[in-house]
Symmetry: C7
Subunit: 95 residues, 7 copies
C-alpha cells in the first residue's frame, strides 16, 4: 500500500537504533531513546499559498533527515511504523 | 439522511479494526486502539479566501485517508459514527 | 422577543434527544448526552472584512445543522435555551 | 460622571435578574446566576484599521443586548457596576 | 526624573481609593481593592506601522482613564508607583 | 569581549539597587527586588521587515531605560550579568 | 557526516564550561549550568518568504554566538551533541 501525503507533508521511516551497545549488552526496546534520524519515504506536492502558488519542497524521497523528538504523527501502515510530519519539522538533511 | 459539510470540512467513516487478531483471541472494543484510517463520505466546497476565491479540495468522496489520532469532531448520524474534520487534518491518501 | 445576531453569528435551537429509548426505559435528563443537532433560528448579516466587504452566510433560518460539542454560548431567552455560535462552528447541514 | 469608551468598546449596564421567583421565595444575591442581558450605555467611535479607516459600530446607546458569561471587564463608576466590553463580545441585539 | 514612553505606551498614576468609607471605619491598605482609575502622566509617540506610518494616540497627558485590573506593568520611579500600559489597555476616558 | 545583538535586540546592564536603605540597615542580596532600570550597552541594527526594509531603533547605547520584570534573557559575559531583550520589551526612556 | 540545515536553521556546538573553577574544585557535570555560548557549525540557506524571496542569514559558520537557555533542539550526530536552532533564537554575536 502506498500513501500520498497532502500539502507539505512528508512520510518518514525512523532509523532503528542499533540494538547492541559497546560491551555487548542488549538494551531492551523501552529503554532505548527513540532515534531522531529517518529516511524520507514520500513527499507531498508542497504547500499551496493563498494566491494559488505551489511552494516547492526542499526534501525528496530517499533523503536522510534529522527531526525533533516530538515531530509529526505516528502512523502504522501495513504493520510498519512511520511518522508523517510537515517539512517544517525537519531540522536538516544528513549528507 | 445526508450531511453537506461546510467550507473545507470532510465527513469521514472510520475503518473498523478487525475484531480478531492472530491466534484468534477476540479483542474487546475498549482495548482496541482506534484506527486512523477512514473513507471520505462527503466533502465541502472548499475554503473561501478573504478575496472571495474558493480554494479547491484535494480529496474526494471515496478516498481512503490517514488522519491524526485527535483529528476532527465525532458525530453520530442515523446511529452511525462519523468524524467531521478539516481537510488540513488529513495526513495522506492511501492508494 | 426576537434576537438579531451580530456579524457571522447564528442562533440555534438544540434538537431535544428523544426521552425514551428502545425497550421503553426513560433516561433522566442528566444522563443524556446533549445532542449536536439543531435548527437555525436566526442568522447574522455575515462578517465584515477589513476592506469593508460583507462575506455572505452559508446557512439560513430553518436549516438543520450539526455542530461540535462545545460550540458557542448557551443563552436563555424567554425561558428557552438557545446556543449562539459563529457560522464557523457549524460542521455541516443535514438534508 | 461620563465615560467615553475607546475604539470599539461598549459600556453596558447589566439588567438585574428579578429578585423574586415563582412562589415568592427570594433568591439571595450570590445564588443568582448573573444575567447575560444588558443595556448599552455608551459606544466608542469604532476600531481604526491599519489603513486608517474607521470601522463603524453596529450597536448604539439604548440597545438591549445579549453577551457571553465572561465578556468584558467589570468596572464601578459612581458606585454603579458596569461592564466594558468590545463590540465583538456582543452576541446579539434583543428586539 | 521624567520618562518618555516608547511606541503606544502610556504612563499612568493610579488614583488612590479614599481611605475612609461610610461610617468612618478606616480600611487598611491591603484590604482595599486597587482602583482602576488613573491619570495619564505621559504618552508615547504612537505605534509605527510596518509601512512606516505613525498611528496617532487617542489619549493625552492629564486625561482621567479607566483600565482593566491586570493592565500594564507596575514600575517605581522616584519612590512613586506608576503603571506603564499600552493604549489598548485603556477602557475609556472619564469626562 | 563585545557582543553585537541581532535584529531589534538590545543589551542592557541592570542598574544595581542601592545596598543601604533609610536608617542604615543593609538588605541582603536575595531580599532585594531586582531593579527594573538599566543602561543600554549595545543595540542591534533593527528588525528587517518581510519586504526587506530595516525598521530603525528608538533607543541607543547609553540610554537609561525602564523594562518589565520578566523582560529578556539573562546572560553572563566576562562574569558580568546582562539582559538581552527586544526593543519592544523596553517600557520607556528615563530622561 | 555532515548536516545541511533547512531554511533559517543553524547548527551550533555548545562551548564547554571550564571544568575547574577558582580554587581548583572540580564541578561535576550535572551541577554545572549549561553555557549559553556556542560556535556556529553550519547555516541554512535562509527563510523563503511567501513571495518567493530568500531572506539572507546574519550569521555564518565559525561565528561565536550567545543563545537563550531553552533555544533549539538537542541532537546527537556521530556521538557529538549539537543544537539546531532557528537564527531568531540567536541573541547576539561575540566579537
Amino acid at each position: 500500500m502506498k500513501i500520498r501525503p497532502l500539502q507539505d507533508r512528508v512520510i518518514v521511516k525512523r532509523l532503528e537504533a542499533k540494538d547492541v551497545v559497546k560491551g555487548g549488552i542488549i538494551i531492551p526496546d523501552t529503554a532505548k531513546e527513540k532515534p531522531q534520524e529517518g529516511e524520507v519515504i514520500a513527499v507531498g506536492p508542497g504547500k499551496m499559498s493563498k494566491e494559488g502558488n505551489l511552494q516547492p519542497m526542499n526534501v525528496k524521497a530517499g533523503d536522510r533527515i534529522l527531526f525533533g523528538k516530538y515531530a509529526g504523527t505516528d502512523v502504522k501502515i501495513d504493520d510498519e511504523d512511520y511518522i508523517i510530519m510537515r517539512e517544517d519539522d525537519i531540522l536538516g538533511i544528513l549528507e
